[in-house]
Symmetry: C2
Subunit: 397 residues, 2 copies
């Protein structure tokens, strides 16, 4: 662990556009699974709450594919609440009166952490596709550098959904002694063929846009907005369940009483998807989309352990709470069960909760009372086991 | 019914590139649900087998979204077997030794029937988006004109899967007295929100391609191949089940032993999808893709009957066999059950078969022994009820 790191400050939500950041010197590069090297590496992050004197109450939240470090503050680009505002804050499950919550933008992202839109020091131009293809493990390696920098030995908890859940699993496998509790949510230990297929469609949509310019669009003053919007539209369908779409939109028409017999957005679902596509391009970089989808595709945790997922968790002391949503068809419950079986085989302490919800994959981002209660209960039990002080108790200091 | 139509000839498989066709004079237009008009209307079709003397053994096959009239002959563009070669031919369920099988390209299509790539007589240029947006009912109206032309009063059977199944339902509702038996397969009586969503993604992918040129690409000597390929890739995922993808491709790598840490098609599923996309653009017109997807989106049979699907089939004498495949998530079994419930409520004769298969929506196009046996059994029972002669019996000729 790096010693002599600066003291931790609690920051206001919007002190800086992308919150805090740490730039590691060029002689402390991130070496990637693919043999690449990112140097210098910048990690942008947010923190909420206060680190206790024992540095024992830190929770790392890992964001999903197009999430970012703005888990619980107003987003600097969209002005909207953070992606896990429902879960993170005073009195919420990730209780910032009790825990010190950290969330960093993944390497390869586009909200301040080094990624394909960052300047490549070798050329003075944005990396583009010269940025090394990163893996989930590379994302976790970068996070570990941040956690070292924050002088935190053991994280009280690592939690996240979807791609964030993959990072949770990777944390538990790579650094078992540094993770007291882990919550992989709506995720899988490997990306399925169908998952890869949907990601490939998104990448091809981006690359088909002539404004993508082989990834060199930033220098050329254009952006592959249409391609990225199509990618987002396709992906967005996979985040919702058939039932949720039926309930929210059905075949309802958009601001009209009869179909127009045209290719206008007659149906509300069309209007909604177009809006999702357009809003996305305002906040996300197209090349980053290629890199983060690729990282998921390459994720197959068992492959790093001789094909045995149980081996990845063998002898772990981490307490797990695995959460799945029954209408999630992108990372179906069977994916979570496979994780649970491996954890059991590896002798781990594990709870498994399958939550009934018709909201599909995105349920983990929404107000799901039972999910909220599950998270609160798991964290409180883990906090008791770790001997963390209750908010307001004398032990707080 | 049009009298004086030419005698029916049995044609060899590849007499003409797109088989037979009939061009209706301009004073016999197809008037569309949207208030448009197609004139002159050409319908390209294929026939297999011989019409009996009573003109009682005709089966109309309705093709799916990107299918065509080449159900059981070598495809003139791809050189591959017809899309239902497994089901249509001597001794096969749609037994051409016994039945006279007709399959026509839908209006709005691109294999010979009038569609957006046809010449608009008003301008001398391809219609493009000036072609009227057609509905499933319009497709069926055009087919009825063909059936009139062939001097067939009552079809022994109308059968088809997916969009073809919608046409079957529309036939049974619009012309109950002209349909002795009906097989709607892997279909729905209305397009769901998720169905519309996937179609909208495909259309936006086409329209995002600058070579689409607002639909005027043919005159300008270009084609939106990249956009259409992306549309096909996204759609293709929906035709297969998660399990089928896992079984066929899983996470297997394509001609390599390790990932390349790049955006190459490392995985077999990526290679497969790219191939599907590229092959599709060689045989299908991008504007036709917009029109046929739109026709499906607008399909809501109950809406034409005061919101009651049962009303659409009230008092029908048609015998139905509704078929669903349990791994079909595009048109799930629940969609077929809704049809069956409505048929029961309408007092119809109906069999319902849910076939266990892990092949997803496309199962109806594949060699599925139980589906083949079901089809054969249903047709034989219907043929006996209609008093059709058995092949080789004296009553033939």
């Amino acid at each position: 662990m790096a010693k002599g790191a600066p003291a931790i400050e609690t920051i206001a939500a919007s002190d800086a556009p992308n919150g805090k950041f740490i730039q590691f010197p060029a002689d402390r590069p991130l070496c990637t699974d693919g043999g690449g090297c990112v140097a210098p590496l910048t990690i942008a992050y947010q923190t909420y709450g206060e680190l206790d004197a024992q540095r024992s109450n830190a929770i790392l939240l890992c964001h999903a594919l197009t999430g970012d470090q703005h888990a619980a503050n107003l987003h600097p680009l969209t002005g909207k609440a953070g992606w896990w505002d429902v879960m993170v804050g005073p009195g919420k499950p990730f209780d910032t009166d009790r825990y010190f919550v950290i969330c960093s933008n993944v390497v390869g992202g586009c909200l301040g952490t080094t990624g394909p839109s960052s300047i490549n020091p070798a050329t003075g131009q944005p990396y583009g596709l010269d940025f090394p293809v990163v893996t989930i493990r590379d994302m976790v390696r970068a996070q570990a550098m941040l956690i070292d920098h924050l002088c935190i030995d053991t994280l009280f908890c690592v939690a996240g959904g979807s791609m964030g859940g993959m990072q949770v699993l990777q944390w538990a496998a790579s650094y078992p002694e540094r993770v007291f509790a882990a919550m992989p949510i709506a995720t899988a230990a490997k990306h399925s063929s169908q998952n890869i297929a949907f990601h490939e469609v998104g990448r091809q949509a981006v690359m088909a846009d002539p404004d993508w310019r082989s990834g060199r669009y930033l220098e050329q003053g254009v952006r592959p907005e249409k391609g990225l919007a199509v990618a987002r539209m396709a992906a967005h369908i996979t985040y919702l369940s058939d039932q949720a779409l039926q309930r929210k939109f059905g075949r309802k028409l958009q601001d009209r009483s009869a179909p127009t017999f045209s290719f206008d957005a007659d149906f509300q679902i069309e209007n909604y998807l177009r809006h999702q596509g357009m809003a996305f391009v305002d906040r996300f970089d197209a090349n980053s989309y290629l890199f983060v989808t690729r990282a998921c595709d390459y994720f197959d945790l068992a492959a790093d352990y001789g094909g045995s997922l149980a081996q990845a968790f063998k002898g772990t002391k981490t307490r797990f709470c695995v959460v799945a949503f029954d209408s999630d068809w992108l990372y179906p419950t069977s994916d979570s069960r496979a994780i649970v079986h491996a954890l059991n085989a590896g002798g781990a302490s594990v709870s498994f909760v399958e939550i009934e919800s018709d909201k599909g994959h995105d349920a983990f981002l929404l107000h799901e009372p039972y999910f909220i209660a599950t998270t609160r209960g798991f964290l409180e039990a883990a906090a008791a086991a770790r001997g963390l002080a209750r908010p307001g108790s004398e032990a707080r200091a």
